[in-house]
């Protein structure tokens, strides 16, 4: 049934086309490696907020505004070892990865502001607080410390699901001190009838809605205006700067997951990877890995009707967590779908104080993932590190609990994996 295509050979094979896969691929390709990225399905990146945070909630309690690197290192298991015995300094890696990331995205028309060493607070479209380190400039202009002592209009557009201004106003009443917040519902002719997804709205908005929106915004009396995401990657910078300059107000997007911001980040990262020279095969599934002792040798890539063998010098596994399909469940146990690498977790099997047995079991499942060395090398089932296979991103153990820790760790591990994978190829 499946037709075999002639086999190919690459320097590095990256499985997974989310943030960590594309980051590792770009990093390798920018050093003249021949890189193939294979991915299938919607990535978690495309559903994310499109912002990057390197932090977990427990690190935020440190000195405000700055990130405690030691707490960061303690928080995720592979980082522990990096600090203790790795040859890379976490601080330096953070600097390199964020500047490479920001430069690559800026080439694709997505300006990201601030650095990996600080964080700031913004409002989400649910009215909750969101802390992150790197965000698109048109989102970051809504950071709460800049809004203090000012007034903020929440502008909902009828039919657009991403921003319900009344909900946000009610939710944020408690924790946004010193900002006068007022909700507005407005109807735009260009949007037609209501009840549409953000992508649909963006498609309708493309046909000349900016002027109408500028007029609506100018009529508001507040000096800052929050709007739902309305532009795709191609038009977002032009659109948002037009809104700001023409209305002479600070117009910004609220932090919005499961919508255009995530899709924009995904789009920009894909373009950037291709720009660095990667070959990107979306809609393909890696169905088999061939391993000889501690070396991964080749893989089989499949579409519904075709099959192709790829041999490689190094392999980066960035397939995502259990929900994303990078890991599999067998009964109550999390297992490696390739039946090759070691999977495990770092927590305690006994329930923590106040936890039920069910909580502990659940946490164990969610926290499990691939185990790696401090060089991000995957391990055989017996625990011997691989020479040329690396893991990156949320597929690693302890990366998916608690959920929603931001894409920073994904980029960081991908960068380290690429750094050591280079030596192999």
């Amino acid at each position: 049934m499946l037709r075999e295509l002639p086999p190919i050979k690459v320097d590095a094979l990256v499985i997974g086309h989310g943030a960590s896969g594309l980051m590792a691929a770009s990093a390798l390709a920018s050093q003249n490696n021949n890189v193939l990225v294979v991915g299938k399905g919607a990535t978690a990146t495309s559903m994310s907020t499109g912002c990057i945070s390197y932090i977990r909630k427990d690190i935020l309690r440190q000195e405000r505004g700055a990130i405690d690197l030691e707490a960061l290192a303690r928080s995720v298991h592979p980082f522990n070892d990096i600090m203790e015995r790795g040859s890379l300094a976490l601080e330096e890696v953070l600097l390199q990865v964020s500047s490479f990331f920001q430069r690559s995205l800026s080439d694709q028309g997505l300006e990201m502001t601030d650095d990996a060493f600080h964080f700031f607070d913004m409002l989400t479209n649910a009215g909750t607080m969101y802390s992150c380190s790197i965000a698109p400039s048109f989102t970051a202009s809504g950071r709460l410390d800049r809004l203090r002592e000012g007034s903020l209009a929440l502008l909902g557009i009828e039919g657009h699901r991403d921003l319900d201004p009344r909900l946000v106003a009610a939710m944020c009443a408690g924790h946004v001190d010193g900002v006068r917040v007022r909700p507005y519902w407005r109807k735009l002719d260009c949007m037609g009838h209501g009840g549409m997804t953000a992508t649909e709205a963006a498609a309708r908005f493309k046909n000349g809605g900016t002027q109408e929106l500028i007029k609506t915004i100018s009529d508001l009396e507040e000096d800052s205006v929050a709007i739902p995401p309305l532009f795709g990657l191609q038009s977002v910078h032009k659109g948002m700067s037009e809104l700001c300059s023409e209305s002479e107000k600070n117009v910004f997007e609220l932090v919005t997951p499961m919508s255009l911001p995530g899709l924009r980040l995904q789009d920009a990262m894909e373009r950037s990877a291709v720009g660095h020279g990667c070959h990107l095969m979306k809609n393909h599934l890696v169905t088999r890995l061939e391993v000889k002792r501690e070396r991964a040798v080749s893989a089989l890539i499949e579409t519904p009707t075709r099959r192709q063998a790829v041999s490689f010098n190094s392999l980066i596994l960035a397939t995502g967590d259990l929900v994303g399909g990078g890991l599999a469940l067998a009964g109550r146990e999390v297992v490696d779908p390739f039946s090759t690498f070691k999977v495990g977790w770092f927590g305690k099997t006994e329930p923590l104080p106040g936890q039920t047995r069910y909580d502990a079991a659940m946490r164990q499942v969610v926290e499990a993932g691939y185990l790696v060395t401090h060089e991000m090398r995957l391990m055989t089932k017996e625990g011997r590190p691989f020479e040329n296979a690396f893991g990156a991103g949320s597929t690693l153990a302890s990366f998916s609990f608690p959920t929603g820790v931001g894409l920073g760790g994904e980029l960081l591990t991908a960068w380290i994996a690429a750094e050591y994978a280079k030596e192999g190829s």
Binding site: P6, G41, A42, G195
Partner: protein
């Protein structure tokens, strides 16, 4: 039914990716999740979805973005099979069924058709209904390219529609009939090549054959990249449309082949078109069943090409060429036609 629906993680990726949702909105179209996942919990209500079910263009984009890897399009086609009844078929679909019964083609045959020359070549060329009866230029260009590449071929003396349109209508009875006929007519070939990605996919998935799409044959076997090209053609900016069944079921490599072949032609510049892999509306029996939806999608495709400042859309699929041409605005030609005119 339930395990399928329960594997959905409700992320809405399919709804965002669905081209028909962008055209119709979620008020008048349920989208892949509504059709394939939610409705499977209420199989007795499938009849009420009849109109909705036939708006799907079977572009496979939903299944491709699905993180849970649910075969959403397959599920929609299964629902179509479950509610199929000849007397309830939409106008265009009833015509397809009548044409199959009468001529063994999915469309009304043209008065003059390209003639099949008898030969004992082991390479079988299956032109498909459109390339034979609506766009014979595809038939002629393919024949010419194969001749230029010194690949001896023959067209079966008799053949029936591959059955892909019947699959989309949901008629499994006629589907079985044409499959059995074709397997008889195809006797004694070593390799099968098709113009239409729909036929290619259908031969693989329904017949269990191993056909090649024309581009695969030209690239892998004929070695079209080594054929000499005509010099000094006028400069042309080309947007390469990615037909759904070619890019998603046959495989992305065919699109890579096509792009590589085009880039080598003198005077040709490929321009990047937004959403190049978005369905043009030509598939899934939507042209016959809901022509308004098909036309709106074709118009969106032409708009993308215009924004990319393309002079020409090249589409490696007869159905796509036909449907995008209906929208007008930017000239649309078939891949083989475009290539043949530029090779010596």
């Amino acid at each position: 039914m339930a395990p399928f629906a329960n594997r959905c993680i409700k992320c809405d990726s399919c709804q965002k990716a669905c081209p028909v949702v962008t055209i119709e909105g979620l008020r008048s179209f349920s989208g892949p999740r509504g059709l394939a996942v939610d409705s499977s919990r209420f199989p007795e209500d499938a009849e009420a979805l009849r109109d909705n079910l036939y708006k799907c263009t079977a572009c496979f984009r939903c299944g491709d973005v699905c993180p849970a890897r649910l075969p959403l399009t397959g599920q929609i086609m299964a629902l179509r099979r479950s509610i199929f009844a000849k007397d309830k078929a939409l106008g265009g679909h009833a015509r397809i069924l009548a044409n199959i019964d009468q001529h063994r083609r999915s469309i009304e045959p043209a008065a003059r058709r390209p003639e099949a020359k008898p030969s004992d070549a082991k390479l079988l060329y299956f032109p498909g209904c459109i390339a034979e009866n609506r766009l014979p230029i595809i038939y002629q260009s393919t024949a010419s390219l194969l001749t230029k590449g010194k690949a001896a071929f023959r067209v079966p003396e008799r053949w029936s529609c591959c059955g892909a349109p019947l699959e989309k209508v949901g008629d499994s009875e006629r589907l079985r009939l044409v499959r059995e006929e074709n397997l008889r007519f195809f006797d004694g070939f070593e390799r099968l090549v098709t113009s239409c990605p729909g036929c290619t996919t259908h031969f693989i998935q329904d017949y269990g054959l191993e056909p090649l799409h024309t581009i695969e044959l030209l690239y892998e076997v004929v070695g079209v990249r080594k054929l000499p090209a005509l010099p000094s053609h006028r400069k042309v900016k080309v947007a390469l449309h990615q037909p759904c069944h070619l890019a998603r079921t046959v495989g992305q490599h065919v699109i890579d082949y096509a792009a590589e072949i085009l880039q080598r032609l003198p005077g040709v510049r490929l321009v990047e078109m937004e959403d190049a892999d978005r369905c043009c509306g030509g598939g899934g029996g939507v042209v016959a069943g809901h022509p308004d939806v098909a036309l709106a999608l074709a118009k969106a495709k032409v708009e993308s090409a215009k924004r990319a400042k393309a002079d020409l859309i090249v589409a490696p699929c007869p159905f796509c060429v036909m449907n995008i041409s209906r929208a007008g605005g930017v000239e649309t030609v078939d891949f083989t036609n475009f290539l043949d005119a530029r090779l010596k």
